[in-house]
Subunit: 356 residues, 2 copies
């Protein structure tokens, strides 16, 4: 399995072809796991939690894989390698598999490798895949976009500066866990209340018009219409949020070090999973994620091709400078560069267009 993952992570073109053949071959046996995303800043107790959870799951007969998504391990303070050492019991158990983050550059590249490693783990019979991130850049969004359920670990001091919650991350969470709740009970209670209230405020778009849990029973109104429009938009291709709602995000307390709350966490996950499957949202989300991922990789590849095209390369710097200097409108600049790229593609067409 490690060999397969190493092949997938290779950048050699001939390896890439083999890797694609391998992926296609193992795909029929992949997909049959619960994919659980877990984020939390360093110090939140993520590895302690994952080890406690993982060991409990092994006891229940599951096989557990833990993969990491962190584009720049230097930024994360080396905690990824540390994680593996710290998850000592879990990493030594043959029924578990732990793989640190691929070390290559961009988030898109790292996320791609992790997605592919996930498929390998599934084909190898792991029925629970935990994908974790310490939250560098947009990695939380990437993890939420490749998992069935996304959980965010928080410290009890929710009002403090150190509690870094980046834009939009909280709203991705299906479950927020206040870890180390035993350290400061009052702070944990405050954090729980504050986060619950925020999730309710921000999460309202998740409720469908026919949701019987809606406390006030309002008519769908314009909000519902706008939401429906959004699902089909270009920007809605992030593979998240378009499924029919079946779950209200929860905020739980935990002390992973003492083993308190880990069982309750797993019960919530199990409940989520059952509702998600009963509702049809499971299959829908997986399909949307796959499609979103395909388009995200296409966009990324197109940008690469664009930047590498000779006609663009020769003009990009100058045009960018003129946009920054206020001499060229951004939309005009985009059209000029696109015409150069398109002209590179089809010199004849482009000439015709100029004379039109």
């Amino acid at each position: 399995m490690a060999k397969a993952i190493t092949l997938l992570e290779s950048t050699r073109p001939d390896h890439r072809a083999q890797a694609d053949a391998l992926l296609t071959g193992l795909l029929p046996r992949a997909g049959r796991s619960l994919r659980l995303g877990i984020s939390g800043v360093p110090g939140v107790g993520k590895s302690t939690f994952i080890e406690a959870l993982g060991l409990a799951l092994l006891d229940q007969g599951h096989r557990v894989a833990v993969l990491a998504v962190d584009p720049s391990s230097s930024v994360s303070g080396g905690s990824i390698l540390g994680d593996k050492t710290r998850m000592e019991r879990l990493s030594m158990d043959p029924r578990a598999y732990i793989r640190p983050s691929p070390s290559s550059g961009t988030l898109g590249g790292v996320a791609e490798k992790t997605r592919e490693a996930m498929l390998v783990c599934e084909a190898a019979g792991f029925d629970i895949v935990i994908v974790e991130t310490v939250g560098v850049g947009q990695s939380e969004t990437a993890v939420a976009g490749m998992t069935d359920m996304y959980c965010l670990l928080q410290l009890p001091n929710a009002g403090d500066d150190l509690q870094a919650i980046k834009k939009g991350v909280m709203e991705l969470a299906d479950l927020v866990v206040i870890n180390k709740a035993d350290l400061d009970d009052a702070a944990a209670t405050r954090a729980q209340a504050q986060i619950t209230s925020s999730l309710r405020l921000y999460g309202m778009h998740r409720r469908p018009a026919h949701d019987h849990r809606s406390p006030l029973g309002h008519a769908p109104g314009l909000a519902g219409v706008a939401g429906a429009g959004e699902a089909g938009s270009e920007r809605g291709e992030h593979g998240e949020g378009a499924h029919r709602p079946f779950w209200e995000p929860r905020v739980m307390r935990m002390s992973a070090l003492k083993g308190e709350g880990v069982d309750a966490f797993w019960r919530a996950v199990t409940e989520f999973q059952a509702l998600q499957r009963a509702n049809g949202a499971f299959e829908e989300k997986r399909q949307q994620q796959a499609l979103a991922w395909m388009w995200e990789r296409i966009q990324s590849g197109l940008k690469q091709q664009f930047k590498a095209a000779p006609a663009v390369r020769g003009a990009l710097e100058d045009i960018t400078a003129r946009v920054l200097g206020g001499q060229l409108a951004a939309s005009t600049a985009a059209r000029e560069l696109l015409a150069k790229f398109s002209g590179d593609r089809n010199p004849e067409d482009s000439k015709d267009q100029r004379h039109a």
Copy 2:
């Protein structure tokens, strides 16, 4: 001016070339306005507010333009046309200019036209440009991405279903206004407290390491490092959030119908603007927005070229179906399609690569 905007909105290729020449010509005289973004669901009292604000600003000697961004007027319930009728006094004043949303299809296209219309208004001497949206799809993000300051109007019933706040929108706000606060004083107070608390929770990434307003004086820690990394990332190209923080988002109460709170609103805007300029964030934000917009239009254009390329068009449907059916990994699918597109571009290169 209306003629210029109509030219900019034309889709005829020869018009487009004239429009680009026009844009480039007027650019040196554009840019010298305050660009104010205002969002709010229908019923929040947006047009009453904009009329009250606009008339007050005319009295102070300003010239005010109001532009709208709403991709699908059918979804917005026709409120855009209604707005113009309802802003009766403002629309009849020769010192003001009100233009409803361009009616064309995608949000990207509508936003582009509005951005360009904004430049025309500025070159024509309007020193305050208000860009408004009723919040359809991702139009709030588009408006926040083209303005210097973004304000969100809310109703007092912040906890209710009708209060539709879509993901990430609240976090864009520099100022949240609880309008119609007189209708339910207790609810307005609750909403103000709740939104203030959420903004603080979600807005923490905005605080820089050296921000002396930081209440606890913490060291920057990993949060600061992660934030810095994000600013340079591909996804960070939305032109928002990378400037140095100088402002803590505020929540104000208002009753635009009674004219209460409109003065206080304008004082806050003036203060914001002074801080933003003193800090250097004004220029930085404008530049980032222009660059982000250029790349957003490039990405959109590349996707169009991609979808229109014969080799892609012939395979996209089948490959998409195989991804949805679980027979093809998303990343493999992306590579296959990109190779087809690239092969269309450079048939020889692509053949060579295949034999490598």
